[in-house]
């Protein structure tokens, strides 16, 4: 039987989705009432009154709720999901604003009506009086702290945190060369095509709550809603339907709407649904990326970094429900594939009167890669060295693995790289892009009056973080294999890759395997989908569960055949003595035999009933055994496993218009063995597109009053096909991880991480002056040229 692991097979998800038979959140609950929200039009204001009288005679109105209607734990602030000792001033919002609003879009009133049109009619007829307060917008304003976001948070500082390894100050002071750089990245956002949404049904007879939500963590939502509504966990089911993209934003939970909709459904005894619209998604979900960094670096004549000191300021928005994950990731993953000598990093996480900041694909790594790669480019320019050579000289080498950075990673565990071969990766990338022949290409273009630049950027990504995932694999008496894991899917193809793993481990055809994700009814212990962890953690759990089911199948079949278990094999769903087709027992039959019966439910089941025979000297289910042909296992990784990669881009910048055109985009990626190369490449494609977006197009254009000026797809420049590279050239390196049974590493986020870094490198190379703030538009570049005069175009920056 051909191994499925490693095969670029087509996805099992697709047929349903291509026929329009997907079931996304808003495709469900046609009988549900609709919720709409009155949201704050002010970035910062005191609520002085709410008048709902105008809405009371709107057709179809069912209920209006304000903060006054909330009680018990629902009236308390939403949970701070990831506490940290350094997060001394953690603040989270209320489900509905109590007396103050802290960003445009914050929910103030919930309306429930017969449909969304009518709910919006009622919402528009509600009048809220506000006393505007000064808005704190942007990192500069937050740092200046002339005004405060939260009156009880001095200087707008949520947290300050330092990590260090060695003495960076001393190392820098003793270095032959030193540079200082200021580097900035603006806000962007995950922006899935489907916004948030939640549907809830309270069963008045069984008194149980069922929630469907477009989330990256069904178990997280379940625990949070049960706690908020004072329900037993066992009385709450959370089901993740098809999800139209997540990219990080849907890991946040519970959203205000995610607790209010179930609460209203329970109160009203009727199903209630909220479907976020695009405008709401811009102002009421979450953003990321906005950070300012100051770097001091000391290095020797060869460009080796001896000491690195990074100070940065992180804009966490109005509240900080997701804790310090993003800045912690920046401060650790900034190091990439390099050993910096001594290192010190300090960050300040600041409140602003803007939408909350939580992980967006890459989660702090794009900023970190931008900082580190810009720094190495600056060193190369300072010393007149090749940029690739400077990187090579700073690489951690394969013989230094596992490599301990002496820092603590985002999972609270030591930052120890488990595997990787960075020098080999660079060799592949240089070859792929033609690094060494680029000067000739540039000269040729220049002769035609064209301006070319090349950039490269490297990254390391800690993937597959714990604490754990689990899986259940059961062989039904039909021979079909049902697999369940608790984490959720948002288009990654988990049903395909997990089925590939099970097919191999259990020895069954792919077509017999069906995978369920994100449904607490099917598997209720799980963490969620983030940090490129699904394949690594759930994939490993699924492999272990399938191995357990396989062992049991062999044991049961061996007993039936009076053969030795070690002589058995499972091929294409049939258990047999190795090489002896005459002994074959279908797995479905083994499943029947595994479950001693009193009552036959069909012809096949008769074989397992009490008068069908068996050893009368032992109990029907032996001590330590359980009925059924199944396996249920968990995988809890010791630490994260570190994927890595390098990107190169060749750009052309228009000498007159400053338009930036992508000529080639090359990727070398190492996520260990590929379960499904086609799916991994798809992840890279999507990541690269988001990297291009963050480098050249997307920003959150807040004005000084905290109004988001580009809160629509007309104005927020999400790339169409015309903005992405026409062809992405990909090569793989496969260094296996020692930390999980499949040797794999995550691949979901990698494509986006070096985006800002690689474009800044290439544009700097084309223009001859350093680019220090991203994203960069043609107007930005034009302005930089005006301010600097003509560039040298000598390729040294």
């Amino acid at each position: 039987m051909t191994s499925m692991f490693g095969e670029p097979i087509a996805r099992v998800e697709d047929d349903r989705l291509l026929r329009g038979n997907g079931a996304y959140l808003d495709d469900l609950g046609h009988d549900a009432l609709a919720a709409a929200f009155v949201r704050s039009p002010h970035a910062h204001a005191r609520i002085t009154g709410i008048d709902v009288s105008g809405a009371l005679d709107v057709n179809g109105l069912v209920a209006i709720y304000t903060y006054e209607d909330l009680s018990g734990r629902l009236a308390e602030p939403l949970p701070l999901l990831i506490p940290h000792p350094a997060l001394t001033h953690g603040r989270t919002g209320y489900p509905l604003a109590s007396d103050e609003v802290n960003h445009v879009g914050e929910p103030v009133v919930m309306v429930v009506a017969a449909d969304r049109y009518l709910a919006e009619d009622a919402a528009e007829a509600i009048s809220v009086d506000y006393e505007p307060l000064p808005a704190v917008v942007g990192i500069d304003a937050a740092r200046a702290a002339e005004h405060l976001v939260h009156p009880d948070v001095p200087d707008n500082i949520a947290a300050e945190m330092v990590q260090s390894h060695g003495n960076a100050a001393t190392a820098i002071a003793g270095s032959p060369h030193c540079l200082e750089l200021d580097l900035t990245i603006e806000r962007s956002a995950s922006t899935p095509l489907e916004g948030r949404g939640v549907l809830a049904r309270w069963d008045t007879e069984s008194r149980r709550l069922r929630i469907w939500t477009s989330t990256q963590t069904s178990t997280g939502v379940r625990a949070a809603v049960a706690a908020k509504l004072d329900l037993a966990l066992a009385d709450v089911d959370v089901i993740t339907p098809d999800v139209g993209g997540g990219f990080g934003v849907k890991i946040v939970h519970p959203w205000p709407e995610e607790v209010l909709v179930p609460w209203a459904a329970k109160l009203l005894g009727r199903p209630v649904k909220f479907t976020e619209d695009r405008a709401e998604h811009f102002v009421a979900s979450a953003h990321e990326r906005g950070q300012q960094h100051r770097v001091r670096v000391g290095f020797d004549d060869d460009g080796r970094v001896l000491g690195l000191d990074v100070r940065f300021w992180h804009d966490n928005g109005a509240y900080i429900p997701y804790g310090l994950i993003v800045p912690i990731i920046t401060s650790t993953q900034l190091l990439g594939p390099y050993k910096p000598g001594a290192y010190r990093v300090e960050f300040t996480s600041l409140y602003t009167n803007t939408v909350i900041v939580t992980p967006y694909r890459g989660a702090g790594r794009p900023q970190g890669a931008f900082v580190m790669e810009r720094t190495l480019d600056a060193i190369a320019a300072e010393l007149g060295l090749d940029r690739a050579l400077v990187r090579e000289r700073n690489f951690i080498t394969p013989d230094e693995m596992p490599y301990d950075h002496g820092l603590i990673f985002q999972d609270g565990r030591p930052l120890i790289y488990d595997s990787g071969d960075y020098p080999a990766c660079l060799v592949k990338l240089k070859e792929l892009v033609g690094w060494d022949s680029f000067p000739a290409l540039r000269a040729e273009a220049r002769a035609q009056g064209r301006n070319l630049g090349i950039g490269l950027a490297c990254y390391v990504e800690g993937t597959g973080v714990g604490p754990y995932e689990g899986a259940h694999v059961v062989v039904e008496t039909s021979g079909k294999v049902k697999v369940a894991t608790g984490l959720t899917s948002q288009g990654q193809g988990h049903q395909t890759v997990l089925a590939q793993i099970v097919a191999d481990e259990l020895g069954v055809p792919m077509a017999d395997v069906e995978v369920t994700t994100g449904d607490t009814r099917a598997f209720d212990y799980a963490v969620g989908t983030f940090a490129s962890r699904a394949a690594v953690v759930s994939g490993s759990a699924v492999a272990l569960a399938a191995r357990a089911a396989r062992a049991k199948a062999i044991k049961v079949a061996a007993a039936a055949l009076e053969a030795a278990p070690e002589d058995m094999e499972i091929i294409e769903g049939v258990v047999r003595v190795k090489g002896d087709p005459a002994t074959a027992i279908a797995l479905g039959t083994v499943a029947v035999l595994s479950n001693p019966l009193r009552y036959a439910f069909d012809e096949a089941a008769k074989a397992a009933t009490q008068f069908a025979g068996g050893d009368l000297d032992t109990p029907p289910v032996a001590v330590g055994e359980s009925p059924g042909l199944e396996g249920r296992e968990f995988f809890s990784p010791l630490r994260s496993t570190f994927a890595s990669g390098m990107h190169a881009v060749i750009v052309e910048t228009d000498p007159r218009t400053a338009e930036i055109k992508i000529l080639r985009y090359c990727v070398v990626h190492d996520c260990g063995p590929l379960i499904n190369p086609r799916i991994v490449e798809g992840q890279i494609h999507g990541g690269v597109a988001q990297g291009v977006a963050g480098a050249l197009y997307e920003r959150m254009a807040y004005d000084e009053n905290g109004q988001l000026q580009n809160a629509s797809f007309m104005d927020f420049l999400m790339p169409y096909v015309s903005e992405v590279p026409d062809g992405i050239e990909i090569d793989h390196l496969e260094t296996p991880s020692p930390l999980n049974p499949l040797g794999i590493k995550g691949a979901g986020e990698a494509g986006v991480i070096p985006g800002a870094a690689v474009f800044a490198s290439a544009i700097s190379d084309a223009e001859g002056f350093p680019i220090t703030a991203m994203p960069i538009s043609p107007s930005d570049l034009f302005e930089l040229r005006q301010n600097r005069g003509p560039g040298t175009g000598d390729g040294r920056r």
Binding site: P192, F247, Q490, G491, Q690, F713, Y720, V721
Partner: protein, 174 residues
Amino acid sequence: MAEEELFDVTLVINGVTHTVAVPARRLLSDCLRHDLRLTGTHVGCEHGVCGACTILADGVAVRSCLMLAVSADGAAITTVEGLASPDGALSPVQQAFADCHGLQCGFCTPGFLTTITAALAGNPDPTHDEAREIIGGNLCRCTGYQNIVKAVLRAAELQRTAAPGDGVAPGNGG
């Protein structure tokens, strides 16, 4: 407040005639999804930029979030549910997406499928650049468009090799 006035609208959707009473302001996208429960058509922005809600009205690709249901009265409409042939075989465009891994989360996919179906009816043999042009008005956040471009070319190839009458023409009512 007075109840909203309702208007009877007759739509021939995927070959089946539906009559539905809707308020004047009801978007065609909402009418399809919520009144007729044809939820294959998705809504990504409600301002005509993302293209997820694209349907074919009398064979022409239209953004159903920018059209009122009442103004579609009498139109022959093809939604994603009507693209496969009556025997259940995927259309060339649908098959090409499966062959080329042209979708991930699948949310934008129905709009791409209808858009490409209409475009290939007019240009059955697009060049690579024309393939990019065909999908140039639809947003996808997952795929980086690489495999969607491939799927356009693959669909054209499948369509050319398919026998006439295999359910490849748009708006044929499936």
